[in-house]
Each structure stands twice: as C-alpha cells, then as structure tokens.
Amino acid sequence: MPILEVNNLRLAFGGLQVLDDVSFTVNEGEIYAIIGPNGAGKTSILNCLGGFYRQQAGDIIFTGNDISSLSPDRRAALGLARTFQNIALFHGMTVLDNIKLGSHAHLKSGLLDTLLYWGRAHREEMKLREEIEREIIDFLEIEHIRKQPVSTLAYGLQKRVELARALAMRPKILLLDEPVAGMNAEETEDMVRFILDIQEERDLTIVIIEHDMRMIMDISDRIMVLNFGCKIAEGTPGEIQKHPEVLKAYLGEKRKHG
C-alpha cells in the first residue's frame, strides 16, 4: 500500500532544471533508496517533500492527502521527518533539548501554560521526557551524552542525535539524507543497525539517500536511480545492479575512474 506518491515533479532554479518530471511511489514499511551521481537532484527531492523548495509542477500525495501546498511545519506535523546531509542540529541546545524539539508539533501547551509551567505544561513536559528516554535515548544508546551541548559531540554522534530528533517527530515516514556519509566503518555499522531496527520495530517507512553502494544494496527494498534530474531506473537491488542505463550513467562512470 503506497504511503507516499510523487507525480511528475519539476523543479528549476532560473534556467537550471534540477528535477525533470520525476514520479515515484513509496510503499508503507519499505526502505526506499534514491541514488545517483552528485548533482542528480536527490537532496532536492527531499527538499520538495519537506516543503523547503516549491516545485513548479507535480504533486505530492502523502497518506492519501495532497500536501503540495502545505507549509513545511504542517508537513512535519503530518509525519514527515528528515535528517540532513550537513548536520542541522541546533547548536545552542543540549542533546536532550534537540530531541525534545522534534516533538514540538505533538505538544499542546499554549502561551499561558508555558509561562506559568503548572498543570498541563508541566505534565506534558514530564511525559515527553519519559517517552524520549524510553523510546529514543535508550534505543539509540545516547544516555551518556543527553546533557551535553550538541556542538561538543563527535560527528558520528551528531548524526545519531539527528536521527533521534527525527524519531521524536513521531514520523510516519523518515527521510534520511546520507546518514552514513563521512563515517568510519564501525559508526556506519551502528547506524545501519539502528535504521534496520527502526524499520522493523516501528513499522516505519524510510526513504534514504546514500553514496555508500554496498550499504544501499544491503538494506533497501527498492531503489530509484536519478541522473541529471531524471529518473532513469527503479527496481530491487538485484535489478538495479544489472540495469544497463544505470551501469552507463553511474556504476560505469565509477569503474572508469577506478
């Protein structure tokens, strides 16, 4: 059953065509990967899904509703969560506050509750803290750093905190932009384990962009290949590895250089 449908997406900056008529469907519970050479438009797709870029044409259907005209914050509230290629944590806050911020849209307390901090706001914050501790901090094994300012953390841990923050958004779909880029082998292995656990234990749908081919072939259910803003192939890892267009545009290019 499809959770996300993207139809005929077009995006251009001035004369530069970034996405050209891209359509794809992501099914509930699967890991869907988007791959392609640098500048193929992978991150632009995520930016359109999140609402940061506005496409010139095409629509985005999420859980049956057209979200194309919604603002980014509304889309987040509906259950679209993402991580970023260049980590985008809030540097003025601790790990815990960064994660709590992810739950923003699900909290109810208003201005007055907040200022007085009794009754609803207090109960809500306590409940949030317990949930985050139980379901996220514990799960991602970041208890030891919860009170640290994020700017003091190592790169791999920052990526993990970003994942934690995305989980706190209680997403229906998780968009991961190069979750293991720049990580060493051990960190990559940890991250892959977390991603697989998330998908299995929480029935989450995951869209992932990554350059690490071995990892992509290992974990994805289906893969879409982009080149110069066009979709050139889609299929299971096995199909993609044999696809002539892909070999030409992507893997072939690699082989030449290698």
Partner: protein
C-alpha cells in the same frame, strides 16, 4: 508650484549627499557583508578632523582635505584590523552589535575631545546662492551636491575599471573564487573599510559644511538605512537612486507637513516610507531574494 520646485531641488541636492554616505556603507557591505552601523560616526570623525586642521591648526582647505582622507583611511584600517577581523564567522547579530558598539565609542570620544558645542568650518565655497531660473539654492547645499556627485562618480569608476576595483568586485561576488584567482581576500576587506570610511568622511565634510559639526552629526547616518533598503544593499547605482528618493521624500514631506504636526517630519518620513515599502517588497525596491540552501 515654486514652493514645490524649491523642495524638489533641495531634495535632489540632499539626496545626492545621502547617496555618497550610503556609498560609504555599500562599499563595505558589498565586499565584506558587514552592516556598518558606525557609518554616521565615520562621517562625524571626518568632519572633526577637517575642523581641527582648518580652524585649530590653520591649514588651507586642500591639505586639510588630504588629512581627512588619511585620517579616515587610518580609521577604517584600524577598525578592520583590530575589531572586525576577530569577528569573521560570527553570527550577524554579533557583527551588527560590534559596529553599534563602535559607533557609541566614536561618538563618546568625539565629545570628550571636541566637546558637544557646535563647531563650524571656515567658508569653503562662494557665499552667493545659486540661481537657476527663479529657483534659489543655498550655496553650501549646491556645492555639497556637486562634490558628492563627483565623489560617487570617482568611486564608481574605480570600482568598475581600476584593477583594484575589479578585484574588490570579484571578492564581493565570490570569496572563494577570488581567493583561488590569487586575490588577497583579506586585504580586499581592509581596502573596503578604508574606501568606505573615506566616502563616509567626505559625506561628513559636506554635512558639516552645511549645518556645523557636533558629536551627534552621525545621526544623519541612520538615514542610510532607508536609502540602502530602497536601493538594494549591494549596488552603487541603487544607493544613488535610493539617496535621491529619500532626499526628495523627506523634503516634500517636511515642506508640506511640518506646519501641521509641529516639525520633525523630515526625520521620520523616510522611515515611514521604508516600513510601507518593506510591507510590500520585503527585500527593498531593487533587492533580490537570496536563494537559500540547507
């Protein structure tokens, strides 16, 4: 009708002077992306140096002017080397606040050195008012306008054609690219501060020549914000157009409305126009929305 033309001409003349002051701001912003809230105080310091050289030391106008240029250049150099160099990579708010702090320091120092009394320059231009048709323009205003326009033209030409100007423009366009082309980006920053300070100080001379010098002369510098927002923060042409718009608006508004509300309209009108324009064009009349990246 004559009253209108009178207001219009003085508006144009004042506008030309605003354009020069705004240029002092834009030169720095263009090269370094720093919003210099101390532009007005740079003007004021220039005017005081001129006053000191001519009245207190007794120099003739031309050497005194050269002293102003040297002093302004030095001020720009010092400010960049001692303060702003340390602020590279800091958030905008900190950089803006540093220049606000700087303006406070300069204003206080000026009052300590020269006291808060009004000072005036010796007469620089022929006293006789300029008569065009049946319009009469105050001579200081007219000559101030002429000097301002010549200065703006010189800076524009340097920026457009001189080797150093081209290097500055390249730096403004793309710092990394300029760096890889062998341009010394850091010295371009310093140079921008020197040029910006010089342009502002000439503006200060003109304003001081018209209305006398006082530590709060730099208050005129606040008007560059309506000017540059109207004209676009990073364009010399825009600064000129913005300057004229603000000069004309404030003179017309002052001329027609002052009697109704008891004065002061001149100073507030540009800001009202600014707010109105920003409501409809949040990036100014000529500014472009930047494409943001994550």
């Amino acid at each position: 009708m004559d009253f209108f033309l009178l207001l219009l001409t003085s508006g144009i003349a004042v506008g030309g002077i605003y354009a020069l002051i705004a240029l002092g701001f834009v030169l720095i912003y263009k090269a370094t992306s720093i919003i210099n809230f101390a532009t007005g105080e740079f003007m004021m310091i220039g005017a005081y140096i001129f006053y000191t050289c001519t009245v207190l030391v007794g120099m003739p106008a031309i050497p005194a002017f050269l002293m102003v240029m040297a002093g302004a250049g030095l001020l720009g150099l010092l400010v960049e080397k001692t303060i702003l160099r340390h602020m590279l990579g800091q958030p905008t708010i900190s950089i803006v606040m540093v220049t606000i702090g700087l303006s406070s320091i300069l204003m206080g120092l000026a009052e300590i050195i020269w006291s808060s009394d009004f000072k005036s320059f010796p007469p620089l231009f022929p006293r006789a008012p300029i008569v065009i048709g049946n319009l009469i323009i105050r001579s200081n205003l007219f000559w101030g306008f002429v000097v301002a326009m010549i200065t703006v033209a010189i800076f524009a030409l340097i920026f457009k054609y001189a080797k150093i100007g081209v290097a500055m423009r390249a730096t403004a366009g793309d710092q990394m690219a300029a760096f890889s082309m062998g341009i010394n980006v850091r010295s371009m920053f310093t140079l921008a501060w020197i040029f910006g300070s010089m342009a502002a100080s000439i503006g200060g001379l003109i304003i001081g020549n018209i209305g006398g010098v006082q530590p709060n002369l730099g208050g005129v510098g606040l008007k560059i914000f309506p000017v540059v927002i109207l004209g676009g923060l990073d364009s010399i042409g825009g600064a000129v157009i913005g300057g004229f718009i603000v000069g004309i608006i404030e003179n017309l508004a002052g001329g027609y409305l002052d009697s109704l509300v008891g004065g002061g309209v001149k100073n507030v009108a540009p800001f009202i126009v600014l707010v109105l324009i920003l409501m409809f064009r949040p990036y100014g009349l000529f500014g472009r929305k930047e494409i943001e990246r994550l």
